[in-house]
């Protein structure tokens, strides 16, 4: 099978001239659970946003599912994003809207602007949204306001929203960074389950190596916008750890 994502010499420069990604090359195979690690500011979020093309690479090539998506725009860009679900550290739900509506918003890419803005979501879509809420175990919260939920529950709504896209790829940008350890594990388990049961490829940023060892099938480490490590979670030795995080770093456990 061809790789799902293939990045060749990818670079990204912010408008202020800051080079956040420098000549990054890697591939992601279908079904992988790839974890990206690295210090704060190393470019992990930037890499994520380049993959679903919220950001446009400054140079290099990005191939997704066999087609070059480096510089696509308009409808092609919308279709590309539809194939990729994304969840965020701060959940990014529409706070004042219900859990069900938030989930339905995952389908916006598939709907015409007119149809969706009139608030018309078909019974089929609502059914699907409820099923997805069921998958993450919060169907009974469907009618509550999103901001009345706890952090972990909100992140699960965000996962349900992403599932509305029937994604080939799930991007998770520090999905558990604002959650407590127990809740972190519950959210990670849902991602793991989606990866294993539906075969959805996952690319995820994490800060805790204990989580990395538990869930990742492969790891990429970024340092100042460059890939400095690529391999199995078990290969991250003390030495590599110091290489990635700096000499003064010590590992913190999360159980």
């Amino acid at each position: 099978m061809p790789p799902l994502i293939s990045a060749e010499h990818l670079s990204f420069e912010y408008p202020n001239g800051f080079k956040a990604l420098k000549n990054v090359s890697f591939t992601v195979e279908p079904g992988e659970f790839l974890v990206v690690i690295g210090l704060s500011g190393s470019g992990k979020s930037t890499l994520m946003r380049t993959i679903n093309r919220l950001l446009e690479p400054t140079s290099g090539t990005l191939t997704f599912h066999g087609s070059d998506v480096t510089h696509i725009e308009g409808d092609a860009l919308r279709r590309h994003r539809q194939k990729i679900g994304m969840i965020f550290q701060h959940f990014n739900l529409i706070k004042r809207h219900s859990v069900l509506r938030n989930t339905l918003y995952g389908a916006l890419g598939q709907l015409s602007s007119m149809q969706s803005m009139l608030g018309h979501f078909s019974p089929d879509l609502c059914e699907k949204a409820l099923r997805n809420l069921d998958i993450v175990g919060i169907r009974e919260k469907a009618d509550q306001r999103a901001d009345s939920l706890s952090g972990g529950q909100q992140q699960r709504v965000a996962i349900a929203r992403a599932l509305m896209q029937d994604p080939m790829l799930l991007l998770a940008d520090e999905p558990v960074a604002s959650l407590d350890p127990a809740t972190s594990h519950s959210v990670m388990k849902y991602l793991d389950r989606i990866n294993k049961e539906f075969g959805t490829t996952v690319v995820c940023n994490l800060h805790f190596l204990s989580l990395v060892r538990q869930y990742a099938t492969r790891v990429i480490a970024l340092k100042a916008g460059e890939i400095v490590f690529e391999g199995q979670p078990s290969e991250i030795t003390e030495q590599w750890f110091k290489e990635i995080y700096g000499d003064d770093a010590t590992e913190v456990e999360i159980r």
């Binding site: 679903n52 679900g85 965020f88 529409i94 809207h97 995952g106 389908a107 916006l108 598939q110």
Partner: protein, 335 residues
Amino acid sequence: MKRHLLRLGIDVFFGAYIATIIDRILIPRVILDNVTTPFDGMHQALVIGLALVLAVLGSVTSASVGRLILDGSVSGSWQRTVAMNIAWISFTLTVLAGWVVTGISPSALFNGQGLEGAGRIFKALFTPNTDIIGSALLAMVETIYLAFMATAIAVPFSFALSFFAARNLMDHGAIPRTIYVAIRFVTNFTRSIEPLIWAIIFSVWVGIGPFAGMLALVVHTISSLTKQYSEQIEDVDTGPMEAISATGASRTQVVWFSVVPQCVIPFLSFTIYRWDINVRMATVIGLVGGGGIGTMLIQYQGLAQWREVGTIVILIALVVWIMDVISARIREALK
């Protein structure tokens, strides 16, 4: 280079300003006792001359007010003293000229006959004529409706415009940026013209009356609300926008589903506050014939019926105060 020119410009301005005040205001109105002299060659030479003197002084030595203002300090002790003195002289002359121009006269304020007249009016004001309360209330209601209609008509326009006047939604190309700049320019311009002046313009256009007053308020409200709305839009949390974009949604969908929900409550709150402001403005506009309580007030004032004027003033104060409290309560509850 640019800074140097700016410094020179400031020096020239101070020279010309000092010369103009002395020559045009202080000499004719204080020293010559209201003799107006023509602004002929000699006077022009004086103004230009002092401007040039300060400019040359400023660039040759560093005794420059421009430098003092731009850099906050001037090197050299006598240069510093000179620059400071030029600034002080300008300030003192401004106070003197201001005093003369506004005709400040404590004797007029505390003159016996004047005080007696004031006493009569205040006494009348505080013995209101309750007979006119019915008609005054009706006129007050007219004013409130006028303000309400102006706000209601303006809101849809402001709502639509505000999205095109928000920098964060309009930074994706040259055309959007141009639209943004154009809307910002027009709304800033119309907003800087007082509603009272708009009322005068519209009373020429559609005839004197409540309609002209309402149009004046509509124009002012559209530009004010567009500004407030768009600033709110610029303040939204970008996270939800990013999340909706990531689903493959169109720009319009992103705005509708992630920006609008974050803005409705603040928009409502701005709108209610604007209505409150408009009631006050409608009263003032009424004074120039915009109808409602303002027009009634100016009519009784013209007839020197101070007791009736007092009734109206008390009524206005009461209504404005009540509206203020109510609108503050609603806005508080909306938070």
